[in-house]
């Protein structure tokens, strides 16, 4: 009995390790900001470069902060989903235009529709670094106090919106799904 016990335990251990490896993408680095306030920032707005937008405008209600750029191909893919979300769900979506060209970004929103309440312009990418952005698109869900409750890395999909994003928003809003 004892003879087979050790190999069996090792086997079970390896199986658990491999299952863990199968269902966890090493590309997704957990954000250290979860359940912490989003770092504050002050950036020019996209529509009018003369305006200065504070990250504080996102407080007061559950909000989504989507980091995007026109050079980012997956952003193009998720854009229609954001437009849908801005129409169907009762949620304010803000954009952070990351290391992009203003005219390109404006043309993109003109052509593909604008799901954002406001778009912050982070031309240098410094705010991106402060927010721990390492791959666009990234999507933060903030509660009414401006605390990061969830971060999605990579493009949103129909599936991830249905199974993760909406449930998180509903929970934060205290809505029964």
């Amino acid at each position: 009995m004892h003879r087979y016990l050790v190999p069996f335990i090792v086997f079970v251990g390896l199986v658990l390790l491999f299952v863990f490896g199968l269902y966890n993408d090493p590309k997704l680095v957990p954000s250290p900001f979860i359940d912490k306030p989003l770092p504050t920032f002050e950036l020019p707005g996209l529509q009018d470069p003369a305006t200065s937008l504070s990250s504080g405008i996102m407080k007061g209600d559950v909000a989504i902060l989507n980091v995007w750029a026109t050079w980012c191909i997956p952003c193009r893919q998720e854009h229609p989903l954001l437009v849908d979300l801005s129409r169907s769900a009762n949620i304010k979506i803000y954009g952070l235009n990351y290391k992009d060209v203003r005219t390109d970004a404006l043309a993109w929103l003109e052509k593909l529709d604008n799901p954002y309440q406001q778009v912050f312009v982070d031309e240098s990418g410094n705010t991106g670094i402060d927010l721990g952005v390492y791959g666009v698109p990234e999507t933060f869900i903030l509660d009414a106090q401006g605390i990061v409750r969830y971060k999605h890395i990579g493009p949103l999909t129909v599936d991830s919106i249905r199974t993760v994003i909406l449930p998180v928003i509903n929970e934060l809003k205290g809505v029964q799904p």
Partner: protein, 155 residues
């Protein structure tokens, strides 16, 4: 003419252009610190490269950040803290000792220990043991051996 052309080509070789813009440091201690930090920090875009190796856009930005902080006289701890607070422990090639990293730190030693114990037990078990052979068996054995030699001689 041809050799001149070849020499001309050398000036346009890729390696010449590969050199990054040289950074100015106040002293060699800062430069060393900068290099050392880049070797210890992971690029999050191409995860198996250090900040020093990576050509990703973000790596370039983070190198600039590290450069600025080193030049401003920040300590290594401050700089590492800056990056960890934004990107998490994952940026460190040398992860801190925590409950979640215990397996990472001690797993290899546990495996080594397990291997050594296994080898020790295996070696002890396979030590030669004196076999007691009964006289009857001994006779049978010598008969078998004898017949074998006969056969070999005969063939």
């Amino acid at each position: 003419m041809r050799s001149l052309l070849m020499i001309g080509c050398l000036f346009f070789s890729l390696t010449l252009f590969a050199a990054d813009d040289p950074l100015q440091f106040e002293n060699s201690e800062q430069q060393q610190r900068y290099q050392q930090l880049l070797e210890e920090l992971r690029c999050l875009v191409c995860q198996n490269q250090t900040l020093a190796d990576s050509h990703a856009d973000l790596a370039q930005d983070l190198r600039n950040e590290v450069y600025k902080m080193v030049a401003a006289g920040q300590t290594n701890d401050n700089i590492i803290e800056f990056l960890v607070s934004r990107y998490g422990d994952f940026v460190l090639y040398r992860p801190p000792l925590k409950w979640t990293t215990i397996l990472l730190w001690f797993g290899p030693f546990a495996l080594l220990l397990y291997g050594l114990v296994s080898v020790y037990r295996f070696v002890r078990k396979s030590k030669t043991v004196d076999v007691i052979v009964s006289p009857v068996d001994r006779q049978r054995l010598s008969r078998l051996l004898d017949s074998n030699t006969d056969k070999q001689v005969g063939s």
